[in-house]
Amino acid sequence: MNDLIPMLGGFLSDPFELFNIPIEEWVTQFVNWLVDTFRSFFRTYVSPPVKAVMESVQWLLTSTPPLIFLAVLFVIGWRSASWKVGLFAIIAFTIIGFMGLWDGLMVTLSLVITAVLFCLVIGIPIGILCSRKDLTYTILRPILDIMQTTPPFVYLVPAVMLFSIGNVPGLIATIIFAMPPTIRLTNLGIRQVPGQYTEAATAFGSTPRQILWKVQVPLALPTIMAGLNQTIMLALSMVVIAAIIGAGGLGLEVFQGLNRLDIGQAFVGGLGIVLLAMVLDRITQGLGDKAPGNRAGGDE
């Protein structure tokens, strides 16, 4: 009876002393278990394809002479958006080149391209699946939220434990971080296709597959492109952070600059990243505007 009073007093002054949820321990145990169990699986089956794609893209970009690269870039910018975007892309890349960061630019670009390729290949089918089955989306939604809102640094630790350091773990973390917009906006785009079009397609005897590929996906393309744009931006930001675990490129310039307190080097790297981001953004936005599904706007 006498003991009870101080206990009650202690509870009132600090109620959270009473009990502690050991989530920290659980997570540590879970990650340890994950690493122990799947490390060899990930290293044999996940790393090689990612690495192979990355090396091919990198080889292609670095072995192209810069002048030819710039010419191709102009054509891409011009065809996907306008000649102004093409011109802007050339100027931006030339500035980066004259800052002495051409090689870093190519590495970063190849990392982004690789990550985005995997995001699309995995994300679009999952997005389509979500749009057709409500249950899939209900289950996937909290997972997507976690993938997107977890601070990017948090991915890096398990990525290193599973894949060691270098470009590949950086890429894996990037793919996971950048994929949600592709899934979300593919799902959203398909769901937003007005019912009258799918009804018309059904009335003409289309199979569900024909409706998907002839009507829903083309009409959802502007939205899917918006997802691609977001995915590219997220990938770019993550690729920079991944420099911490040994990924190369422009991020490495920033990271090294910060480590050595060399503000100039960090700023130059940062400027390169900003310019690259602007070029990629303009090009993908242009793609979205030119998508055939955009004609729906003027319909009724």
């Binding site: 018309a200 397609a201 003409f204 289309s206 009409l219």
Partner: protein, 408 residues
């Protein structure tokens, strides 16, 4: 061609609980208030013959769009049969078709035109028109050829490479029509296809549809809320109210003989002059209304009671041979031959009379009366005189939508 038997659609979680309530005579609104189920279509039965235009008409919410979607199962009917009788395939019940057969039927035997066109905005006009053929799996050259042919037919030959949003509403619906007829399906479902169009364009499209229908000999199931449209294009009309078909008949039957108050209200303001036929309003050529007034050679003269100055000379077969007005002989002309003259030089004759057929519409009869002051004579298909139309009959026909002396 299509026979719907007791087609019923009930929306809600437990449709089987609703039919007993319907049998008790509860209305759609009562059922919705009590159980939350919506009766979209209740026990609709009708028959559409090959090559005819069958119009389903009703106000919004009457279930007509639901009913037409039950026919190609864009909406699954809860009960009932939809028999497709086609000599090529035999009788088939659409309501119980499996997915595969259903898709085949939709792609090659029954196509559809939509109220808001529903053209695919990402496809060119031509590629919209060939969509059905693409689904059928025809090869590209054949598709394009057919597509161009039908695009030509709806008057949009040069527009194949444009996108739908570059076309006006009327043109878009022409594309919709071309897309539907291009599959060469024998049956065309049209869900208020012209409701979204301007009145002028609408009439133009109706004429064009009638023309195309004659050319291609398709069977058309047409939905509308516009009575004049229904009367213009329909061979038969079914009127729907609160999910039920309340009357089926040809335009004239519905106009002259509305079965319920709802139908009567509907047709009250319809323009009867294009629908009602001469035989409906004519004063029958019978003893009760006519008196003999002398004989001459091969004919017997008759005059309408109270009007001895106009005499009709009829031979023993019942054919009108001569007519006199105030003792003078009057020439007799077919309505068709004098309509143009009446339009060009409106001088009303008292020395010439006009005859028409039993199925001539009032509009034409009136134009005949502009040519001649004398009553219009109505002949049957054998050329026998069956009645006359004078002012009282015309006025009654227009105002009351029925004959002046229909009591016999």
């Amino acid at each position: 061609m299509i026979r719907a038997e007791g087609v019923t659609k009930i929306f809600g979680p437990d449709p089987d609980s609703v039919p007993p309530l319907l049998k008790q005579g509860k209305t759609k609104d009562e059922i919705q208030a009590e159980t939350g189920h919506v009766v979209g279509v209740n026990n609709a039965s009708f028959q559409v013959g090959a090559g005819e235009v069958f119009v389903i008409m009703g106000l919004s919410g009457s279930g007509k769009s639901t009913l037409i979607r039950c026919i190609n199962r864009l909406i699954e009917p809860t009960y009932g049969k939809i028999i497709l009788d086609d000599p090529e395939f035999g009788d088939q019940d659409i309501a119980s078709m499996d997915e595969q057969t259903l898709r085949q039927m939709r792609s090659s035997r029954m196509s559809m035109v939509f109220q808001h066109f529903a053209l695919f905005p990402h496809r060119t006009v031509l590629s919209n028109v060939v969509y059905g053929l693409e689904v059928q799996g025809r090869d590209k050259a054949e598709r394009e050829e057919l597509g161009k042919k039908y695009l030509e037919m709806v008057g949009l030959g040069g527009w194949g490479d444009h996108y739908p949003n570059e076309l006006s509403g009327g043109m878009q619906q022409r594309v919709g029509l071309a897309r539907a007829v291009a599959t060469e399906a024998k049956i065309l479902l049209m869900d208020e296809p012209f409701s979204a169009l301007d009145p002028l364009i609408k009439v133009q499209m109706q004429d064009e549809l009638i023309k195309i229908q004659r050319e291609l000999d398709r069977t058309i199931l047409f939905i509308t809320h516009d009575l004049d449209e229904a009367m213009r294009i329909g061979d038969h009309i079914a009127i729907m109210e609160a999910g039920e078909i309340v009357q089926i008949g040809n335009p004239e039957e519905i106009l002259v003989n509305p079965k319920t108050e709802y139908v009567a209200n509907f047709v009250e303001h319809a323009d009867p002059t294009g629908v009602i036929t001469a035989s409906t309003v004519a004063l029958p050529f019978k003893d009760r209304h006519f008196e003999a007034s002398g004989e001459e050679q091969d004919v017997t003269y008759w005059h309408r009671k109270g009007y001895p100055e106009i005499r009709f000379g009829v031979d023993k077969d019942g054919k009108l041979k001569r007519m006199t007005f105030e003792g003078n002989n009057v020439s007799i002309h077919a309505l068709e031959t004098c309509i143009n003259e009446a339009d060009n030089a409106p001088a009303r004759h008292t020395d010439a009379a006009v005859y028409c057929q039993e199925d001539t519409i009032l509009k034409q009869v009136m134009r005949g009366r502009a040519y001649s002051e004398l009553p219009v004579v109505v002949n049957d298909s054998e050329g026998r005189m069956t009645g006359v139309i004078d002012e009282p009959e015309l006025i009654n026909g227009i105002l009351e939508k029925r004959g002046y002396a229909q009591d016999d």
